[in-house]
Amino acid sequence: MRNYYFVGIMIAIYLMVYFTFPSLFYEAVLQTYLILLSVIPILALVFVFIFLFDLFVKPDKIGTYLGQEAGARGWIFSIVAGILSAGPIYVWYPLLSDLKEKGMRTSFMSTFLYNRSIKLPLLPIMIHYFGVTYTLILTLYMIIASVVVGYITEIIVDDTSGSRHT
């Protein structure tokens, strides 16, 4: 039931908007429809991943590739998977939640999410607006920053929960 609170609040807000600014309401509903059209195929793919992971990948494998003992392999995997993953960030939360349950390191989750911001198909557009050098330098710093963000997130989150990892 807790999962429905936020959508319930949003429906209430939409109802208020409907009675106060009807044109904004219709525009927002149209926008919701358009975003859902683009998001649902990726979300469906994520759910297929979850099914396949649950079926074929056992928690000890997650530990090897994304857990405490993963080492450099885990960092590289998180960075590359983050860069290659498509769609908006929130469609990947269910999969990460599942992997977290199976033992994925906090730092790798955070690093994966940070690298979601590097969009390879959009780089030509960024180059168009800001130039090649700017885009390359920013992208390089973002990859480095993703590791820093991952480490700091893990230190803070796991330390306060009493299970700090190195």
């Binding site: 979300l43 700017y134 997130t153």
Partner: protein, 142 residues
């Protein structure tokens, strides 16, 4: 041995738990996109080289939508004389910080994780922006 039934049940359970949250986020983002016209972003910058990067980070964190929109707005902001550090902080926080995604992230990945990650990303956006522009200056690109 593979257990299709168990995996299918678990996946359905995940769909049931996560879809309403994701749908709520989509509704929030749609309302913001519909309510805030793009030209409004440029009016919030002050012209102050110290305050503008923070303004950029803040607007980028609250704003939502396709990153292409942030490039277009960022390009316009540069044309209007907003500093490259501020525009870079804006671009970075647009894609790395998600205030509208926060309810979904807290619900599915944990409150502590979501809040910590977003706060760190907000701070890091500021420093990466300064580092990027300093590097560009160092190699003579600006």
């Amino acid at each position: 041995m593979l257990n299709f039934k168990k995996s299918a049940r678990k996946t359905l359970n995940t769909i049931n738990q996560s879809f309403p949250v994701v749908f709520g986020v989509v509704m929030a983002i749609s309302l913001l996109i519909a309510a805030v016209p793009e030209y409004l972003y440029s009016r919030i910058f002050t012209g102050n080289i110290l305050i503008d990067p923070l303004v950029g980070s803040f607007i980028g964190s609250v704003a939502a939508g396709n990153p292409i929109t942030s490039y277009v707005i960022g390009g316009e902001l540069l044309n209007e004389g907003v500093s490259l550090v501020a525009v870079t902080a804006f671009l970075l926080s647009w894609v790395t910080v998600g205030i509208l995604n926060l309810p979904a992230e807290m619900d599915l990945l944990g409150k502590k994780f979501a809040l910590t990650r977003n706060i760190i990303c907000f701070i890091v956006a500021f420093f990466v922006a300064i580092l990027t522009v300093t590097t560009l200056g160092f190699i003579g690109e600006i």
